[in-house]
Symmetry: C2
Subunit: 475 residues, 2 copies
């Protein structure tokens, strides 16, 4: 067969596309190149594995390699695609130092994103980790275990991890103090994971608040809650570098006006799209640095698609391309590309930028455009209101204060975005906002939604409705 | 002042209207007539009060009478409006056997609904209760208490209950076996309440399944769960009558082919709109028997409004009037009428028929049109799919099977309704369906929603998305 569907990246987007195409067109050859040893795993579960709540590393596999192959997909792990030539319709693939050329009929670039560490000097020291890939998760959990009793087998990596490499992270002297560099999603989730190991946890955040995209009302509650949990927050403190004490092991976090001795550091300062393989290919990137695609996932070069964390997607509020690397988007976009390549053109849909997060006992959610500066960039005149309302009827046990912020365009009354934080069923309520955004509802329309009410789950006026009512009163 | 705003019924709709008007137009005289001794209380909380989870009866007051009066509302409890004369703009009010006439400028009929008992012979025996009004809730909880230690004061009715009347329900010999007649919302909630008192609970349901409006997939899981909790279900058994054993106290439930000795019975066979006061007034009722109103809550007679459980509302799916007596609708409609009467015409919005319910450890939700016969009545060609999917990532602790049914119109692909049941954050997810219904989304659009994903709260594909994906595949 001369026109295989070649997929670069064996994760959410890539394998969704490969699986969908194989279902729709079983005779088409499908080759998936995966740089690492793992394929189809749950990135978002890694903090809970490090925490110990997910006991075994292979639990995070969505689809083990043998089941991928059962689907008729030619999965080649340990193969790195280093170049793409759309004129010749070939990709260059490296394995064990050798490079071969692989022709394609259609190509999907689903290379995802990588943890950014560039701004942090000393991120290459021993004892400094990122949360990217299951190997790093295994190494980090190894570093937290009691070396008297723990073995690499306890980590449950099956045959997928390099046992010797991981074993080198088991430490005679387990860490007591850990620095989390970066107070975004990963930083907050990892603070919870480290605290579960009874570590003295310090979070360093360059900005004045954690969780930038969730906005201040969420950040302030999360910050108070993390402090209650014993986490030390260093807000407004940019880490200048990580220092060793002479050997190659991290020993100190250095900020402009202070420093802190630490035994271990986790760097979670964001992710970047993996697009190096496209250098010289003529495939265009968007302003975000991720691959620019059309509504079907097509790049500017014929028969070259991109999907998932390496690609942009249209934002449902602004209509403009946005780079929002999240799991559902990647799965859905990959699936749509598979269907399109099978001959049934299918749009990817848009992103609302919906994200939810657990921060110890708090649940956080956000969707849409909530930042006023960003909203103005797109020509909106943003107005926001923040309310705190009960999650249940006031008389019902377990009622918890839920803080909702909604943002709308003053001129049209259209809902632009929202955030939520609370301890009781807060995160999932952001789905109401996400759905309303997709529908282009005004705040007045949101206020009139016939949402659920029963004392154990919601007060008469759901917190989202209360926020809509207050915001609508200001428009 | 000669044109007071007169409100009949001092509950959700009536007091929302009165409060809103007083805020917008503080000089307008507002008189609220309430037949009973209670005003502004949480109907939906009564089962949890009987259960004991809400300790004190007055906890269920949304707004105590003194706070209502602080708002400048002339609340007259113990006053029953028995007739309305729109020609003369007066209502006839009974109190202590005397009737007086009260003129009005604008009138709001917010008389709510009453528990239906008519079809059940013997419903007037001692030991037979309904869940309608806080007096009945107090009486029922009294009947469940240990007479050795309990007093009427323990019930927490403050000065609002007739202590002598309630005291007569304290029994020397507390019940052991209880019949719940009717397997709808109230029946299921009360089964849970009685089970918490260690009673032998029997639920009698005329139809083959509990919870008709939630459909079979929800009913079947609830039925299995109730049985696991020790509740005996008598499905397809219509209660012919409740019998006494000679005195006036209930002693037996009689069905066509069987009978069961009981110590106490709860009749929850639905509610009926309270419209008797409108007989002869010329105010039109709809086909449902509830008051017909326009989008502003106006009846066919000038200056006469209706809102809440006694009135119809337009359904967002069918566009036709529907009678869906629920708390949020009543609050919202009352508030809108108050605003309209204040001179700012405000539409009530529609109802999606969203309802949620706790059944022991299960959460149930429904919204829209889910019954196929009903859908066909409105010209739709209904197609449904039921899926069971996880509430969280499969590897994350607490993941629970969540069953979602979505119904769509085959020709247009439009979502018509949905139901959900599960043990983990299931009920609140119906808000996604309710919002999509209000927006008139197709199932394809629902499938593309950017909903929340994080392992502790939701899998990559929320159960609602999984159902949309499967249903869309059939359209």
């Amino acid at each position: 067969m001369s026109d295989p569907f070649v997929v670069v990246g064996g994760d959410a987007a890539g394998l969704s596309a490969a699986s969908k195409l194989k279902r729709e067109d079983p005779d088409r050859e499908v080759v998936v190149f995966e740089k690492g040893n793992w394929a189809s795993y749950a990135h978002c579960g890694m903090p809970y594995y490090v925490k110990g709540e997910v006991p075994v590393l292979t639990d995070l596999l969505s689809l083990p390699p043998d089941r991928i192959e059962e689907r008729g997909i030619d999965l080649r792990r340990g193969h790195e695609v280093v170049a793409v030539d759309p004129d010749e319709r070939v990709v260059s693939v490296e394995r064990d130092g050798e490079t071969v050329e692989q022709p394609y009929g259609d190509l999907l670039v689903a290379t995802g994103a990588r943890a950014a560490t560039e701004p942090v000097a000393g991120a290459d020291l021993d004892g400094v980790y990122t949360m990217h890939g299951l190997d790093s998760a295994a190494a980090l959990r190894a570093a937290l275990l009691d070396p008297e009793t723990a073995t690499v087998e306890d980590l449950g990596g099956g045959g997928f991890v390099d046992a010797d490499a991981v074993e080198s992270h088991l430490r005679a002297d387990p860490p007591e103090t850990v620095a989390v560099v970066g107070g975004g999603y990963v930083g907050v989730e990892m603070a919870e994971a480290f605290a579960a190991h009874d570590l003295d946890v310090h979070v360093f955040q360059r900005g004045d608040h954690l969780l930038g995209p969730f906005g201040e009302p969420v950040a302030e509650r999360v910050e108070a809650h993390l402090r209650e949990q014993g986490v030390t927050l260093h807000l407004g403190e940019a880490v200048v570098r990580l220092d060793s004490d002479g050997d190659d092991r991290v020993a100190e976090v250095v900020c402009p006006d202070s420093s802190l001795p630490v035994d271990l550091a986790l760097v979670g300062v964001g992710v970047r799209p993996n697009t190096d393989l496209l250098d010289g290919s003529g495939v265009e990137l968007g302003d975000s640095g991720a691959v620019a695609i059309d509504e079907f996932g097509r790049t500017n070069r014929e028969n070259v698609y991109a999907a998932g964390d390496c690609a942009e997607m249209p934002h449902v509020v602004t209509g403009e391309p946005a780079w929002v690397p999240l799991g559902l988007t990647a799965n859905r976009a990959g699936r749509a590309v598979g269907q399109t390549v099978a001959g049934d053109p299918t749009t990817l849909g848009g992103v609302a930028g919906t994200a939810v997060l657990k921060a110890f006992d708090l649940e956080c959610g956000r969707s849409g455009v909530t930042d006023h500066d960003e909203a103005r960039t797109y020509g909106f005149e943003p107005v926001s209101e923040t309310v705190t309302a009960g999650s249940r009827s006031g008389y019902y046990p377990g009622n918890a204060e839920t803080t909702v912020t909604l943002t709308a365009d003053r001129e049209t009354g259209r809902l632009l975005g929202g955030t939520i934080v609370g301890a009781d069923r807060a995160a999932i309520r952001i789905d109401t906002v996400a759905t309303a955004l997709e529908a282009g509802m005004t705040v007045a329309e949101v206020e009139r939604l016939d949402l659920a009410y029963a004392p154990p789950f919601s007060p008469v006026w759901d917190p989202v409705l209360v926020a809509a009512k207050v915001l609508n009163g200001r428009l």
